[in-house]
């Protein structure tokens, strides 16, 4: 981009010494006081558009929190040791996780077959003494970003059903996001905290989904899922 | 007055002579104001300095006199001075030329005088 810009600049520089640029930039196309009127008209149109753009924007914009570089870095750091944390059964202590939805199913019998129809999520199963008749299922996920915008909320939780002794985890609905992103020109962002961010954000980063299942300690498990204890 | 730039005479001389003729013909009488250099310049489309030079010739010959801040006026003796001057200069040189031409054409003195007398009669008859 910058090379193209410079090339353009050089071409225009060369042209600027010919009669051509004097015609374009000194404009002999329009002379006389007509120019002033045309320019005033142009300015009014711009002003109208500018005011309109300020009035419209609020409701139309994409919902999502804007994260700073620091927040993203912090989240990345947290997410890097999320596995060991969860594996060691300390999910409550894990940071950087969003608890999205939880289910509770009454259990009949001592058998539970966990069946994943969704390859995306990681399943962890913890046997808990305090539980007797219920299965608690919780969907956690790490943050998802798109260009520094937190879109974690955009991802729905999977549908989870207990069918007899089979816990079925269905895939979530397919999510499609079509976005248009507008950024101000560089002089407007230079003094902002994001000023140093020259690249166009971080692209897309989809968070990890964890399905955390707590079952009574005496249950007999089969099927998918990593059993912590 | 029409200036003749092809003439032998410089413009200021032409102006002076024209003013003399006006004074002789009493278009401008004695103690009357003559044209200023600026009026002359504008009338004749010439530089005011040239016009001033013409006026100054006449002032030097006492035909005109200056009144401070008012301009130039025709003096009382103007007509007399002009007449004397013209007799002494203009007429004299015209006569000299006449005589020279007569010599060329082998016209005798008597014949010449006769021609002059005839011309004079004609002039009188006309007027």
């Amino acid at each position: 981009m910058s090379i193209v810009f410079l090339l353009l600049l050089i071409i225009l520089l060369a042209l600027s010494f010919g009669g051509f640029s004097n015609k374009i930039f000194g404009t002999r196309i329009m002379s006389g006081s007509g120019i002033t009127k045309v320019f005033a008209g142009y300015f009014i149109i711009l002003l109208g558009a500018g005011i309109l753009s300020l009035m419209i924007s609020v409701d139309e914009t994409f919902k999502g929190d804007f994260l700073t570089d620091k927040e993203i870095e912090e989240n990345d750091r947290l997410n890097s040791d999320i596995y060991p944390t969860i594996e060691s059964g300390k999910i409550d202590e894990a940071e950087g996780l969003t608890k999205k939805e939880s289910w509770e199913f009454p259990l009949k019998g001592r058998l539970l077959d966990v069946k994943i129809m969704n390859q995306h999520a990681q399943i962890f199963i913890e046997k808990v003494d305090s539980l007797e008749e219920n299965v608690e299922v919780t969907h956690y996920s790490t943050y998802s970003y798109m260009d520094n915008i937190d879109i974690t909320d955009r991802f729905p939780s999977p549908d989870i059903q207990l069918d007899g002794t089979i816990l079925k985890i269905f895939p979530p609905d397919h999510v499609t996001i079509k976005l248009v992103k507008f950024s101000k020109a560089f002089p407007f962002t230079q003094f902002y905290e994001y000023g140093e961010q020259i690249s166009n954000g971080y692209g897309m980063m989809q968070g990890m989904d964890f399905i955390y299942i707590r079952v009574p300690a005496d249950i007999e498990l089969s099927g998918d899922g990593y059993v912590i204890n | 007055m029409i200036l003749n730039s092809e003439s032998m005479k410089p413009i200021y001389v032409q102006i002076a002579e024209w003013l003399e003729t006006e004074i002789l013909g009493e278009s401008i009488k004695s103690d009357e104001k003559v044209y200023s250099q600026y009026q002359l310049a504008e009338m004749l489309n010439i530089n005011p300095a040239t016009a001033a030079k013409g006026l100054n010739i006449l002032a030097d010959e006492n035909i005109l006199y200056k009144k401070r801040g008012l301009g130039m006026f025709v003096s009382a003796e103007a007509k007399k001075i002009i007449a004397v001057k013209r007799r002494n200069q203009t007429l004299k040189s015209l006569v000299a030329e006449l005589v020279r031409e007569a010599e060329h054409l082998k016209v005798t003195e008597e014949e010449l005088i006769a021609m002059i007398q005839e011309a004079k009669r004609e002039l009188k008859g006309d007027s």
Binding site: R28, S31, G32, S33 | S7, L44, N45, I46, N47
Partner: protein, 300 residues
């Protein structure tokens, strides 16, 4: 006080000297005609006087100050020439409005009246004008600005005869009403000489003559007659020009420093005296010593 003073001014372009040790001084409120052949240094001199160019050596003073890059001189001087640049974006009316803003003495009433008289179009641009119209417009700028030093360099180029006459008349009338120092350079001395007070004749970048124009008229005299008679009589006189004519007659332009006796002697030997127009005289005075155009054909 002299409005414009050149003291041994030289302007060199490389080895060629456009002005060579030029000295003169113009008095206040005079109309001076600047006369000279092409390449005599007229335009160079005027541009140095106007402060557009810097002299190579010598001293130039306009209103007592050095004109180059001088704001005071610029504000009190206008130079009208053929390659005057005007912004392409402005129409003539706006150019006049700008001039009014810049020049303290500007007379918009006069400008407008002249503008209408010469049938110029206020919406027209300067570049769109024909050469004659452009010079007419420039001349209006020069007159209406009423600068204490007003310079016209070949102002009537491209104007038709009627417009030239009107312009010089307008110049004279405005000068009489508002005297100021005016320099006019022209190829056609005959059309301006009546309104001039002084004449400055340049030759090869040097001052050749600087005198009142009425004196120039008496500066030289033409003598003509039989070739032998002329040739013998001319000895001891300053001859500006001599040419042979048909029937063994000769024609010479000489310095008019003759006594009545000398004239008498000459007339006796069949020589005739006549005057010469200033324009012709200037041509002879400034001609290169290469003989006349006839010699080109004679030798060929």
């Amino acid at each position: 006080m002299s409005v414009l003073e050149f003291d041994s001014v030289t302007k060199a372009y490389g080895r060629k000297k456009a002005l060579d040790n030029l000295s003169f001084s113009l008095g206040e409120n005079k109309i001076t005609g600047l006369i000279g052949r092409n390449g005599a240094g007229k335009t160079t001199m005027l541009k140095i006087a106007a402060g557009f160019m810097k002299e190579t050596s010598g001293d130039v003073r306009a209103f007592g100050e050095h004109p180059f890059n001088n704001l005071m001189v610029s504000a009190n001087m206008i130079m009208i020439d053929n390659d005057m640049n005007m912004p392409t974006a402005l129409d003539l009316e706006e150019i006049m409005a700008s001039a009014a803003d810049f020049y303290h003495n500007w007379d918009m009433d006069l400008a407008k009246k002249l503008f209408d008289y010469f049938s110029l179009n206020p919406r027209q641009t300067h570049t769109g004008l024909s050469k004659g119209m452009k010079n007419t417009f420039n001349a209006i700028l020069g007159l209406a600005s009423r600068c204490p030093l007003t310079i016209f360099d070949e102002p009537t180029n491209g104007m038709d005869a009627g417009v030239r006459k009107d312009f010089y008349r307008a110049l004279l009338k405005d000068y009489i009403a508002y005297p100021r120092t005016i320099i006019i350079s022209s190829h056609h001395l005959s059309e301006v000489e009546d309104i001039l007070e002084d004449i400055l004749l340049l030759k090869d970048g040097q001052q050749f003559l600087h005198m009142p124009v009425e004196e120039l008229r008496e500066y030289a005299v033409v003598v003509s007659g039989k070739e032998e008679a002329i040739n013998s009589w001319l000895r001891g006189h300053e001859v500006f020009h001599k040419s042979d004519q048909a029937f063994g007659r000769s024609y010479a332009v000489i310095r008019n420093d003759l006594t009545d006796d000398q004239i008498g002697v000459a007339m006796k030997s069949g020589l005739e005296f006549s005057t010469i127009s200033n324009e012709d005289l200037c041509l002879y005075l400034t001609s290169q010593e290469k003989g006349g155009i006839d010699d080109v054909f004679n030798k060929g």
